[in-house]
């Protein structure tokens, strides 16, 4: 019997959850962060594709919650909770937060990758969710897929190929 593994794809500023034997992925992370929150026991994982560090940056009233680290992580936590996952069971892995272009312009928007990673780390700490592994920074794009059975984050880059954390 062949089992077709279904891949749940998450877009920019979006989030979703997957259950084993599904996997969950997001493509082309630059300064954005792909954060995985997972429960090893129940083999459920959520992924949020964060674009900006804080919802205070929003200049419009309605926005996709997943766009910002603070609202995105909140939204993912409540989605996981609805699935019966206890927060105390959750662990985290993340990748992204790169700076794709170096510019002389030192505007805050140019350091957004670094700020995104910092924001996510701080929020995880607040929620006491252990960050098991991360691959952040540099100037490379990353496509990530979380393999629920092994709790491994598969990271693909143009230069380095595939690595696992």
């Amino acid at each position: 019997m062949t089992q077709v593994t279904e891949v749940v794809k998450v877009g920019i500023a979006d989030l979703n959850i997957a259950k084993h034997p599904q996997t969950i992925m997001t493509a082309g992370l630059g300064s954005c962060i792909g954060l995985i929150l997972y429960d090893e026991t129940s083999k459920i994982a959520g992924l949020v594709h964060v674009m900006l560090p804080d919802s205070s940056m929003a200049r419009n009233k309605s926005f996709k919650e997943a766009k910002f680290a603070d609202t995105g992580i909140e939204a993912l936590l409540s989605l996981l909770e609805k699935e019966g996952v206890r927060k105390s069971r959750l662990k985290a892995k993340m990748a992204g937060g790169a700076q794709m272009f170096n510019t002389a312009n030192s505007s805050e928007m140019m350091r957004i990758g670094y700020r995104n990673a910092e924001a996510v780390r701080a929020i995880l700490k607040e929620h006491k969710i252990p960050l098991i592994a991360e691959d952040c920074g540099g100037n490379k794009g990353r496509t990530v897929e979380f393999l629920l059975d092994q709790s491994l984050l598969k990271i693909r880059t143009i230069q380095e190929g595939v690595t696992y954390i």
Binding site: G28, M100, N105, T143
Partner: protein
């Protein structure tokens, strides 16, 4: 139509004209640089989600060579010239005259030639934009990368994303370059920041509402 782009057809037509004039001027520059004729497509102006925009150029993890510049002055915004790495090789070889040099391998001379090419093309584009609107538009130091489309384009969407979940994409494609069998596709993406639109339309005597 959208949370803040309260545009009518007239506004979209103006943006299309900017894409037309800008890329037309860039095509002329390219033609002079490589001494061959260059054609371009009719510009596309679309209001799209960020994901849809990436799909336009083959998906978020499609690899492209890109030159990125920022526009400052009377308006702010971001601009990309994107081309498949193997096509970037053809241009840099024409400029450098050395077939062993490849942008796709990250060779330094080829990459800096491609950076210069992108600088000239985006510069021509923005100069035409500036002449048309009489707005003062300056171009930042250019940057080059060869990487995933999603990773690179997001850099140009950050400011927009604080206002909206969609972007106005002004896209023009250079293609059909004389003497090449291969179909060449160089994409220009102009992404003005949200506050720029009122200034652009005012400069052309058109009100926003």
């Amino acid at each position: 139509m959208n949370d803040y782009f309260n545009f009518e057809q007239l506004h979209l037509d103006i943006l299309k004209e900017i894409g037309n004039i800008g890329a037309g001027n860039a095509a002329t520059s390219l033609s002079q640089l490589i001494n061959r004729s260059v054609s371009m497509t009719v510009p596309i102006v679309n209001i799209v989600s960020f994901d849809e925009m990436m799909e336009e150029i083959g998906g978020k993890d499609e690899v492209q060579a890109a030159v990125f510049v920022q526009a400052t002055g009377d308006i702010t915004g971001n601009m990309f010239f994107m081309i498949p790495p193997e096509e970037a090789d053809i241009f840099s070889q024409l400029m450098v005259g050395d077939e062993t040099q490849k942008v796709s391998n990250g060779d330094e001379i080829a990459t800096s030639a491609f950076l210069e090419l992108g600088n000239i093309l985006t510069g021509s584009y923005l100069r035409a934009f500036s002449d048309f609107t009489k707005l003062d538009i300056n171009q930042s130091v250019p940057n080059v990368a060869i990487d995933m489309v999603g990773a690179m384009l997001t850099q140009g969407l950050l400011e927009i994303s604080t206002m909206s979940d969609q972007a106005i994409m002004i896209e023009t494609i250079l293609h059909d370059i004389e003497g090449f069998d291969q179909d060449i596709k160089g994409h220009f993406f102009l992404l003005p920041n949200p506050d720029a639109y009122e200034t652009i339309f005012n400069a052309l005597g058109v009100s926003m509402s």
